[in-house]
């Protein structure tokens, strides 16, 4: 099986702090892969390395068979690798609908497209996706006026609007109320199965990630501690110790 995203021996340090050390990870096309680990174990640093937020120290990151570790953030995004943010980032002073419209992927990003009006089928697609995350009634509200949970859903819908090949989700359920989490897990599965989008998810909510992911990588102190299917990870002594702070 060829991996859609193939990370080999990636290391990244900030000054003397080693955030990632020799991390290797593979995400198969069409799969859902989880990344877990205690706070400060280097999960978000790994995400940032993948999307080109900062250069990596050593190693290789390949997406669709192409080395992307030297590319910049917008270039990687345009390849179809889109990330969401742990703190949730939306355009606060624009309505939910306009947030969606601007998130559409542009194939012809020339001068004509820049100065053209928004085509109606794009608006229809934006509304369909807003409906998908249950925000259709709120489409005319400013995104900054939505509740935190709703902003998370909007950010997901915006990412879907971009029609990515792969989505990197940084703690999609953090700060979302428990009732909403069930619906969100359901949506993420739908995104994977029906939209055919490969998912790489950082998650602290064990129930969620065990339910969603087919394969899980556990990081601790910047290093890969364990990897395997959820059932194995759950019973892995080292993982339990890392979370409980033993050893």
């Amino acid at each position: 099986m060829t991996a859609l995203l193939d990370i080999r021996n990636v290391s990244k340090s900030f000054g003397g702090v080693v955030a990632n050390k020799d991390v290797s990870l593979a995400v198969p096309a069409g799969g859902i892969v989880g990344v877990i680990g205690p706070n400060g174990s280097g999960k978000t640093t790994l995400f940032n390395s993948i999307v080109g937020y900062h250069p990596i120290g050593s190693g290789s990151i390949r997406f669709c068979g192409r080395e992307i570790s030297g590319l910049r953030v917008p270039e990687i995004a345009r390849l179809g690798l889109i990330r969401t943010f742990q703190q949730t980032r939306i355009y606060r002073n624009m309505t939910a609908m306009r947030n969606m419209l601007i998130s559409d992927r542009l194939r012809h990003d020339g001068l004509r497209a820049a100065f053209a009006k928004v085509p109606p089928q794009q608006a229809t697609r934006a509304e369909t996706l807003l409906d998908f995350v249950g925000l259709h009634e709120r489409r005319d509200l400013l995104a900054g006026e939505l509740s935190f949970g709703q902003q998370k859903l909007l950010e997901l819908a915006m990412a879907l609007m971009n029609q990515p090949t792969m989505l990197l989700l940084d703690e999609p359920t953090a700060g979302v109320n428990p009732t909403l989490i069930n619906g969100l897990v359901d949506r993420l599965r739908q995104v994977n199965l029906e939209f055919g989008i490969t998912l790489l998810i950082i998650e602290h909510n064990m129930r969620v990630i065990m339910e969603l992911a087919q394969h899980i990588y556990c990081l601790a102190h910047g290093e890969l501690l364990a990897s395997g299917p959820p059932s194995l990870i759950q019973t892995d002594r080292r993982v339990v110790d890392a979370y409980l702070g033993a050893g």
């Binding site: 917008p74 943010f85 980032r89 355009y91 606060r92 928004v118 006026e145 509740s147 709703q150 969100l184």
Partner: protein
């Protein structure tokens, strides 16, 4: 339908008023021309400063470039007044836009306060260069050729020219804000990092926005140079402390980031300034300062922003539960 009819009536009335104004108040024609210039100032500043959130203190640069480029063409081309002026305006527009295209990628890479300081430096540097460059008259400036017609026609001519420019600038910017261009500018204003993470070509769009602003500003500079007749490097072409600051104040007074805000801001600012100048001579700057202070403190979102009272919008109630199953047809994905 009724609303559209009312709007059409309003626009017609405004157009009629604008056309008869110089005949009704002939002694104010030059004032009206300056008012149109102020509209161009505010609308172009707002494109970058309001819609895109990049507070530029150096847009005056393009005004000055337009003024000088046009005057140089008029001086050296050997054409008559009309063709010389026409070519001068075109050359001025190209020179200003080119300057924005060249400077844009570098200057617009600065963010927040750094961008503000950087652009401030641009304006100051341009004034110093112009004041020392003999080809364009150095410190003694340049005079533009005399308008060939009668004196009362002169004011009307420049008024209608600047009126047309203001209308075209406004209509063009409004049209641009309705499409993808406007969406990108607002996205950059709200969260540029997010825009990049979504794959938008932010640098390209930022430069494009600055070029559009520079295009109209440099034309206004070319025309205004001829209206005033004398181009001083510091007090007219690169007058950062007057025109350069007014641009910003007018957009803020009217409501930055709104379509009509800069236009209304230009009217209010220009008229207030003239009134203060007439009735409070000696204290006009103090009065103007107080006026600005009141606006900034009590109406930080400007006239249009404050008028747009936040009526509760539909769908404003809390609902934190997703519907059981999303109603979406995945085959819709294009």
């Amino acid at each position: 339908m009724k609303r559209r009819g009312r709007r059409a009536a309003l626009y017609t009335a405004l157009a009629a008023a604008a056309i008869v104004a110089p005949w009704l108040f002939p002694s104010y024609a030059t004032q009206f021309a300056f008012l149109c210039l102020m509209v161009v100032f505010a609308v172009t500043w707002d494109m970058v400063g309001g819609q895109m959130g990049y507070n530029s203190f150096g847009n005056i640069l393009f005004f000055g470039i337009g003024a000088y480029a046009c005057a140089v063409v008029q001086r050296d081309s050997g054409f008559g007044y009309a063709p010389g002026f026409a070519v001068g305006v075109a050359v001025g527009a190209c020179a200003g836009t080119l300057a924005a295209a060249v400077l844009g990628p570098g200057i617009l890479a600065l963010r927040g306060h750094y961008f503000a300081i950087g652009t401030l430096g641009l304006g100051v540097a341009a004034a110093d260069i112009a004041a020392g460059w003999h080809y364009i008259g150095a410190g003694s400036g340049m005079t533009t050729p005399l308008f060939p017609g009668a004196i009362q026609d002169r004011a009307k001519f420049f008024y209608f020219l600047l009126l047309a420019l203001a209308v075209v600038t406004f209509v063009t910017s409004r049209r641009l804000y309705q499409g993808r261009f406007g969406l990108v500018l607002n996205a950059i204003r709200d969260d540029e990092g997010k825009a990049e993470a979504m794959g938008l070509r932010t640098t390209g769009y930022k430069t494009m926005a600055w070029c559009v602003a520079a295009f109209f500003l440099s034309i206004s500079g070319a025309v205004a140079g001829n209206l005033v007749g004398y181009i001083d490097p510091r007090d007219f072409a690169f007058a950062g402390s007057t025109y350069g600051v007014w641009m910003i104040l007018m957009a803020i007074v009217g409501g930055r980031g709104t379509v009509w805000g800069p236009v209304i801001g230009a009217f209010v600012f220009h008229i207030t300034q003239e009134v203060f100048w007439t009735y409070l001579l000696g204290w006009q700057r103090v009065a103007m300062g107080l006026f600005i202070l009141v606006v900034v403190v009590y109406f930080p979102s400007g006239i249009v922003g404050s008028l747009r009272t936040r009526a509760p919008r539909p769908g404003g109630t809390e609902r934190e539960v997703l519907p059981e199953r999303a109603v979406v047809d995945p085959t819709r994905r294009q």
